[in-house]
């Protein structure tokens, strides 16, 4: 009660924490009980076309592994030591029965690990649907866009065969409208954090966004709305922190405690690529007059997709987007935080660093695993970075 009186956002934040931590999938099971014929569609990072699933009457559930909450017993026996952690904990979630209510799993084409995990899913869970989502790397609407729209229709057909509702344009239009509202609220949340990071900490924004993993876009938008409204009423104390962009955590997620450690070390994370899927489409999905909404969904990915390691960047220098972002926010520097053994993030990093160096933007980097329990070294490193940026700015 005292906490709530002190912080108008405390209650909604507490609710979000429960949802974000729901490894037992209680809310998903509750959905299943209320909608026994509806399907639950799990999807791996980074991005999946959630409005499509909602239009088919399915509940999309973003799966981010098990973080630091689960001992990995069986999952480890399926992977060699030099592979990132998220596939282990995802297999663990599956084999321990926690994903029993997930009827279909979608594996987007972001790296060889997620790709092969899709094949493993087929073998380990033959009664569930394992769908590979081949995101195009050709960004011409007439070529890659058409291919991707075909992919979306194929996936809809597969889900229909499994019991989803037939795909109707009106239902997809509604789902897109809901998604746009959610997107708008995430944009508002990001703006609030950017303008005044003491008002909304990155760890809070993370939690409120993550809370939507197993919610419909509409329910998530309501939650976001509540939080944003409450956060605006907060009385805040300002700290002399450095403003940083965090980059590289678009798939496997760092433990929340690690994000908090960075904050305690004096870093205001004013932008990041945590759970990037929610922000992958950079603005509202627009359906043109007479356009099939499936094509609009595909076009949004092609034309408004945010640059990230798993997306081919043809026409500009790698890292230009990151450097622009830093200038625009503005931020004082960049923290590269990639999951250990994450090929896309780690192969990208030297190119991004080069782009930052060219523009005299300071950066530091570390690696993590979702179940990392020791943050002392990272905290010290972030603290030293923050002090150095304060002292010397771009000359770090």
């Amino acid at each position: 009660m005292i906490r709530e009186r002190l912080d108008p956002a405390a209650e909604v934040l507490a609710r979000a924490e429960v949802l974000a931590d729901d490894l037992e999938m209680r809310s998903v099971r509750a959905f299943k009980e209320a909608n026994p014929t509806a399907l639950v569609v799990g999807h791996m990072p980074i991005y999946a076309p959630r409005p499509l699933f909602e239009a088919l009457g399915c509940l999309p559930v973003a799966i981010f592994g098990a973080g630091d909450q689960l001992d990995i017993i069986r999952g480890d026996s399926y992977f060699q030591s030099y592979i990132c952690h998220i596939p282990r904990s995802t297999i663990e979630l599956g084999l321990s029965g926690r994903l029993e209510s997930v009827d279909a799993m979608v594996f987007p084409s972001i790296c060889d690990v997620i790709r092969n995990l899709g094949g493993m899913w087929k073998l380990l869970f033959p009664d569930r649907l394992s769908i590979y989502l081949d995101l195009p790397q050709n960004f011409d609407s007439a070529i890659g866009g058409r291919f991707y729209a075909g992919e979306l229709r194929r996936i809809a057909r597969e889900l229909e065969k499994k019991g989803a509702k037939p795909l109707q344009a009106e239902a997809l239009l509604l789902a897109i409208a809901d998604e746009n509202r959610r997107r708008e609220l995430i944009t508002e949340l990001d703006a609030l954090r950017r303008e005044d990071p003491s008002r909304v900490r990155a760890s809070e924004a993370y939690t409120v966004v993550r809370a939507g993993a197993a919610l419909t876009a509409r329910a998530h938008a309501d939650l976001l709305d509540e939080f944003v409204t409450a956060a605006k009423q907060r009385h805040v104390r300002h700290f002399d922190n450095v403003r940083v962009v965090l980059c590289g955590s678009f798939c496997e997620q760092p433990p929340l405690a690690l994000i908090r450690s960075l904050e305690k070390a004096g870093c205001d994370i004013v932008d990041d690529d945590f759970q990037l899927g929610w922000r992958m489409i950079e603005s509202a999905i627009e359906v043109r007059d007479g356009e099939d909404p499936v094509d609009a969904l595909a076009r949004a990915y092609i034309e408004q997709g945010r640059p990230t390691a798993s997306r081919y960047i043809a026409d500009e220098i790698k890292g230009a987007d990151l450097a622009r972002r830093v200038r625009r926010l503005p931020a004082d520097g960049v923290i590269f935080a990639a999951a250990s053994f994450c090929d896309p993030a780690l192969l990208d990093q030297p190119m991004l660093e080069a782009a930052l160096r060219q523009q005299n933007i300071p950066f530091t980097s570390f690696k993590f695993a979702e179940n990392t329990g020791q943050f002392q070294v990272i905290r010290e490193q972030a603290g030293a970075f923050s002090d150095a940026v304060k002292l010397w700015g771009a000359n770090v």
């Binding site: 026996s77 399926y78 992977f79 060699q80 030099y82 592979i83 596939p87 594996f107 084409s109 972001i110 790296c111 060889d112 690990v113 790709r115 092969n116 995990l117 899709g118 094949g119 493993m120 087929k122 073998l123 380990l124 769908i131 590979y132 081949d134 195009p136 790397q137 050709n138 011409d140 007439a142 070529i143 890659g144 058409r146 291919f147 075909g150 992919e151 194929r154 390691a309 798993s310 081919y312 960047i313 043809a314 220098i317 790698k318 990639a338 250990s340 053994f341 994450c342 090929d343 896309p344 780690l346 192969l347 990208d348 990093q349 030297p350 190119m351 660093e353 080069a354 690696k367």
Partner: protein, 428 residues
Amino acid sequence: MAIAATDVSKDRSQARQKRMIADHFDKLEHAKETGKKVVYTFVPGNLTELIDALGMLPVLPEINALQSGMRKKSAEYIAEAEKAGHSEDVCTYVKCDIGMLKSGNVSPTGTRLPPPDLLLLSYTGCFTFMKWFELLKQEYNCPVVMLHVPYQADGMITDEMRRYIVDQLEQVVIPAMEQVAGKKLDMQELEKRLALSAKAEDDLVAVWESARHRPSPIDGYFGGVYYIGPIFSAFRGTEDAVHYYRELREEVTARMATGEGPTTPDGPTTNEKFRIVVEGPPNWTHFYDFWRMFSREGATVVASTYTRVGGLYDLGFRHDSRRPLETLADYCLGCYTNMNLPSRIDLIEQYIKRYDADGFLINSVKSCNSFSVGQLLVLRELEKRTGVPGGFVESDLVDPRYFGKANIDNRLQSYFQMLEGKKRKGAQ
């Protein structure tokens, strides 16, 4: 992903391959003087016939990397790349290539490699390729053209996938290549080359099939990587490759007739004790040590998946000159690492049965998520389905730090002892 001939055997085909490679590197060295355009591209799903038909010369960075591994240069190249900020966690082929570039871009044969006029980024079966050329793009001031090849996630090629690739070839890739080449693609020239490819592919399949004979006249992994050299790299679609594979087939047929086994680093073998199927790429820094761990025990590899990364001809695919662009699409889609895990398991099972193998071994490579993720499940599934024992070792492609020689040797010895025991029991 394939290697060039060394002097393991003195066969005519080997001598021819050596000549072909030397000629190719010679042409590359003089490319600027002769005005030939140079295209850097990758092995799996390469568009060699197209490159050739436009009169351009391919450079395959993976082959340079593995050759650097064999010639003990990779450790220093990798160190160079790591010093420049590349993570120790990522594919060592990429780091080896970048290190080689930073050290002057001298090819494994000692000639200096010309910079690319075009980076042809067609990535089949591995996402790292995309990052690799994004990295190279920053080093060279040249155009890059991307061909995105969809994944066979459900174990088949669909019309939509084929159309997507053909669209890209027609509207993006070929126009970009023509611009660099400075001329239009002559379709007849392409068709001629595709027909030559199919001829060589027929003979290569006959070579793979010879391993069904007892003793097998070939080693389908260590020896096999020599056999795939021409067809996976710069020579598919050339008269040279047709001659090479015809000669190779004749040599293998002759060995079969006399009951000779494959040639190994220690000479020809006749004592085939174990017939093994191998999954995963070889290690290149200790290639001969690794090979000897097999040949010393009388173990012949009768089939391997690595030798299918540049085309699964033994499943029936042939380049078809009557449908040039569609056939290129099917080729790109059909490479081994573009198959989903269940299809890969089916294929290995098929190999174990078809080649009457006593065991199968997985060499799990640290660098390569494309191959390695899921291999422990592959092991379990195959043992369950075939009853044939599987072995598992871990190493790397070109980073010598990850080749634990004693450890791998011990594991292999125990594995072969186990196979021996099983055989003895079977005989009783």
